[in-house]
Amino acid sequence: MAANHVIEHPTSTGLDNRKMAMWAFLASDCMFFGSLITVYLVSHGRAMVGPFPQEIFDIPFTSVSAFVLLMSSLSMVLALGGIQRGNVQRFRIWIATTAVLGCVFLGGQIYEFTEFHHAGLTLESSIFGSAFYVLTGFHGTHVFIGVIWLLSLLLASFKPGLVIREKSLNVEMAGLYWHFVDIVWIVIFTVVYLVEA
């Protein structure tokens, strides 16, 4: 939505339209992931053939992934802080860091999926496999979309007038999305991985 205009239509609440819609979207996405997590929780214990969760989860490895995603949230606020103070250079550094951390997380997920696949866990092997891949896969898709969004912002920052202090809201929106994806992982990491181990 980054456009060449800086018209801020005044609103009845004084709050920005896009931010309002974004929070509504996040509330809606809570229900999306809530439903997916429910599906995982009620289904995964009914798997009839292995591998079972305890056998294949690698807690130390996933902890590192979770940590990486958590830290990407930190770099995201720092990027936002940068642009809010008009420091495009700092914005670029931190947004790139965030995108890289996001890619590391995705890489970890791809590695994990490959390992599990070798261990015999596939989408069709058991209901645990189905529920696990669909839940974490949808989260991964969210991360992937987020990475593209971040890279788009980075790219746009090289074109004058697109990513500037007055339009820091464009970055804030991406940030809200990114943090949300992070908190979803906080929940998944606990209820899927840690509780099982």
Partner: protein, 99 residues
């Protein structure tokens, strides 16, 4: 539009962000550690849930600025969140996972 931009642009400085980041990292470390402590096995579930709720709240309040933003956003997000939690709990109960 009368109340335009009365919501203060109060943003924590980067030191505060980093401090939150460190706390988050520490909580994650604790979470992983207690999984391996056998003595805690009986209280593991509530402990883990408490810790992740803590992380969740920190990210939402500080990184997503809900603490400093208009209360309307908090209510909006909370309504979706509570509804989702309600659905999760109700379905877990009905599928016999809470006994």
């Amino acid at each position: 539009m009368a109340a335009e931009h009365h919501v203060e642009e109060h943003h924590p400085g980067w030191q505060e962000y980093v401090r939150i980041g460190v706390i988050l990292a520490v909580i994650t470390a604790i979470e992983v550690a207690i999984v391996y402590v056998e003595a805690l096995e009986s209280v593991l579930l509530p402990l883990l849930l408490t810790l992740s709720v803590g992380k969740f709240v920190l990210v939402v309040m500080y990184f997503m600025h809900l603490k400093f933003d208009h209360k309307f956003f908090t209510w909006l997000f909370l309504s979706g969140l509570l509804l989702a939690v309600g659905v999760v709990l109700a379905l877990m109960a009905m599928f016999g996972l809470m006994t």
